[in-house]
């Protein structure tokens, strides 16, 4: 009727690593056999031991010392538990509980660890997802005056790299075309020409537009320049520069959003890197649409804008460098040109820009 279970016996006179033995319950006593000898053990102490408290160790004291019978294998433990006498049931069940508690805690700890890692990753992902809407929202909280100050900082940075002039026939030409594109300007616009052979132009926050001399030299007509200017003015009016600055703040942007305001202090520090920033793809598309609309409103032919874009992309590819900032590195340049084509197809009859373009270009000749 009683069931025999295997284990390992440790005790005085036995080898240190113990010896295999078998045991069975006889009433309230445990009868342990090993190597022909038999021990009858009473007044057992019961402990959960081993790496995961997965073993049941039954210990008893004799005149020689303490003996321990350790049961490890799950099947043997089941047999041990089945026939256990009533007084030992409670402590034996405790050992099982101790084991399952240990395993459960271990699982919970790892689960918790996993969740913590997951949440951290989730926060980062959420931050990136929120960057665009947050920067759009926060850009509204920045005043136009402050934006102009930021623009001044950016301009000062740009001046450190290339000489920038505010006077001359080229600046006047840029200004006259630019003002035509602005029916109701949000800023007091300022126009500049940078003495640089690059085919480039950029809009700093707060109505500052800088055109590189190289671009004016490369433009075959004032309409081609107007296309680029319309694009830059669109960026300015849509406050894309400010948004790019806000986005470049990254994590501190989220902090600023939580603190409601305070973004302005951070902005100044990131203004230094403005020229390295890139507008998002959506911003570029938005600026393209806006540019076409502005050209149409000013009754300037928008098709030269296309040829200018193609020219710029080609020259950039020729030099092996990146395309200029306003064409950015977007892989969908062709798609942009295609959609621009569609937008410019239905234009009301444009008026030519009356301007001595040759003279403007000559003023920049070296």
């Amino acid at each position: 009727m009683s069931q025999v279970f295997d284990g390992r016996l440790f005790g005085p006179g036995l080898p240190g690593p113990g010896q295999p033995g078998t045991a069975e319950w006889h009433g309230s006593a445990l009868c342990v056999r090993h190597a022909g000898a038999e021990h009858v053990a009473e007044r057992l102490e019961i402990d959960a031991r081993g790496l995961d408290a997965d073993q049941i160790q039954l210990s008893w004291t004799t005149a020689e010392g303490v003996f321990t019978f350790s049961v490890h294998a799950p099947g043997e433990i089941d047999r041990l538990l089945q026939a256990a006498p009533v007084p030992y049931r409670e402590p034996l069940n405790e050992t099982r509980k101790a084991h399952s508690r240990l395993v459960r805690r271990f699982r919970w700890a790892w689960l918790g660890f996993g969740i913590a890692i997951g949440m951290a990753l989730g926060m980062v992902a959420l931050g990136f997802a929120l960057l665009e809407p947050l920067s759009a929202r926060l850009s509204q909280s920045v005043s136009r005056e402050h934006e102009s100050q930021l623009g001044e900082l950016v301009l000062a940075q740009a001046r450190a790299a290339v000489p920038i002039t505010e006077q001359g026939p080229a600046v006047q030409a840029v200004e006259s075309i630019g003002e035509r594109l602005l029916q109701t300007p949000s800023y007091r616009y300022r126009w500049f020409v940078a003495d640089s052979p690059e085919l480039n132009a950029f809009a700093a926050p707060g109505g500052i537009v800088v055109v590189h001399a190289g671009l004016i030299r490369a433009a075959e007509s004032p309409e081609e320049l107007a296309g680029v200017l319309a694009h830059e003015v669109a960026h300015s009016e849509l406050r894309h520069g400010l948004r790019a600055l806000l986005k470049s703040m990254g994590l501190s942007l989220i902090v600023a959003a939580l603190l409601r305001g305070g973004a302005e202090e951070y902005l100044a520090s990131s203004a230094a890197k403005y020229t390295e920033l890139k507008f998002s793809r959506d911003n570029e598309r938005e600026a393209d649409r806006e540019a076409v609309a502005r050209l149409a409103a000013a009754r300037i032919d928008a098709r030269p804008m296309l040829s200018m874009f193609e020219k710029l992309a080609a020259s950039a590819a020729e030099q092996g460098g990146d395309p200029p900032e306003f064409l950015s590195t977007h892989p969908d340049l062709e798609e942009r040109i295609a959609s621009l084509k569609a937008l410019t197809a239905t234009q009301p009859s444009p008026l030519p820009i009356a301007m001595d373009w040759q003279a403007v270009q000559r003023s920049l000749a070296r």
């Binding site: 390992r8 440790f10 005790g11 005085p12 080898p15 240190g16 690593p17 113990g18 295999p20 031991r49 081993g50 790496l51 995961d52 408290a53 073993q55 160790q57 210990s59 010392g65 303490v66 003996f67 321990t68 350790s70 490890h72 240990l102 395993v103 805690r105 271990f106 700890a109």
Partner: protein, 265 residues
């Protein structure tokens, strides 16, 4: 599974290697890169996993190999077969100063739990598994981490650790407090737990860390006197090229951090 009985001899005192004698047809498994030399007639074969599942399916092999990756070992083990006619020898060398201990798994009841990376070689048929340390405190502060290596089988296995290795027999209920990091291996019947040193003062200034490892018998335990990390730490501290300071040997306070603070170089 039938184990291959191997005869062995350990050479050297502090930088040891073990020479294993294989009868014709016998084999031993070693950690990849652990082999020092082998006699003619021994064929080296690299197997995926630990070589214990000879007729196991692909997935059991894959699982075995995955477990080995977790313990920080290679995906492959090297099996050394004696294909010759007579007895042949193959030697495995310890990777850093310390002792090699031979363990007869059969005497221990078939299982030995040891710190990861301590396995050197074994008779073919010994399976190298992992055992998770499920006591959170021990995993975090016990010095051995959450992953231990488990050797199963009933043949010989050779385990290596740093400094002097000592085998202790714990009687039933006997308790030994050990510096964390010094526990190399123990029989599964041994209870391994940690205990706070008790006093903040000793924890901060006693130099032994915040916890002891507490080993409670019955069973055999193996301790190392010099964990490799401790040795490496001292070497780096004393190596000017690695940002340490070269401290004169005769200096009164000539070692460790204190020496580093006092000698301003």
């Amino acid at each position: 599974m039938a184990m291959d009985v191997v005869d062995y001899e350990i050479f050297g005192s502090d930088m040891q290697y073990v020479e294993v004698e294989l009868d014709p047809g016998e084999a031993a498994v070693g950690e990849a890169g652990g082999m020092m030399y082998m006699q003619d007639g021994i064929q080296m074969d690299t197997v995926f996993g630990d070589g214990s599942q000879q007729q196991g399916g692909f997935f059991s092999k894959l699982l075995g190999a995955g477990k080995r990756l977790v313990t920080g070992e290679g995906l492959f083990t090297t099996v050394f077969h004696n294909e010759g006619n007579g007895k042949r020898r193959v030697a495995f060398a310890a990777p850093y100063p310390g002792k090699i201990i031979p363990v007869n798994l059969a005497e221990l009841g078939g299982t030995l739990i040891c710190q990861k990376d301590s396995f050197l070689c074994a008779a073919k048929g010994v399976s190298l598994g992992i055992a998770f340390q499920k006591r959170l405190g021990v995993g975090l502060f016990g010095g051995e981490g959450f992953i231990m290596q488990k050797l199963d089988g009933d043949g010989m296995a050779f385990v290596h650790a740093g400094g002097t290795l000592v085998e202790k027999t714990l009687r039933p209920g006997e308790v030994l407090r050990v510096d964390t990091g010094c526990v190399v291996a123990f029989q599964p019947s041994v209870d391994f737990d940690i205990q706070f040193v008790g006093k903040i003062k000793s924890a901060l200034f006693g130099g032994e860390g915040f916890f002891y490892a507490v080993l409670q018998g019955p069973g055999q335990v193996w301790l190392q006197s010099l964990p490799l990390s401790r040795l490496a730490n001292r070497i780096v501290l004393a190596a000017p090229a690695a940002g340490g300071s070269s401290v004169g040997q005769g200096s009164l306070l000539g070692a460790g951090v204190l020496g580093g603070i006092l000698s301003d170089e």
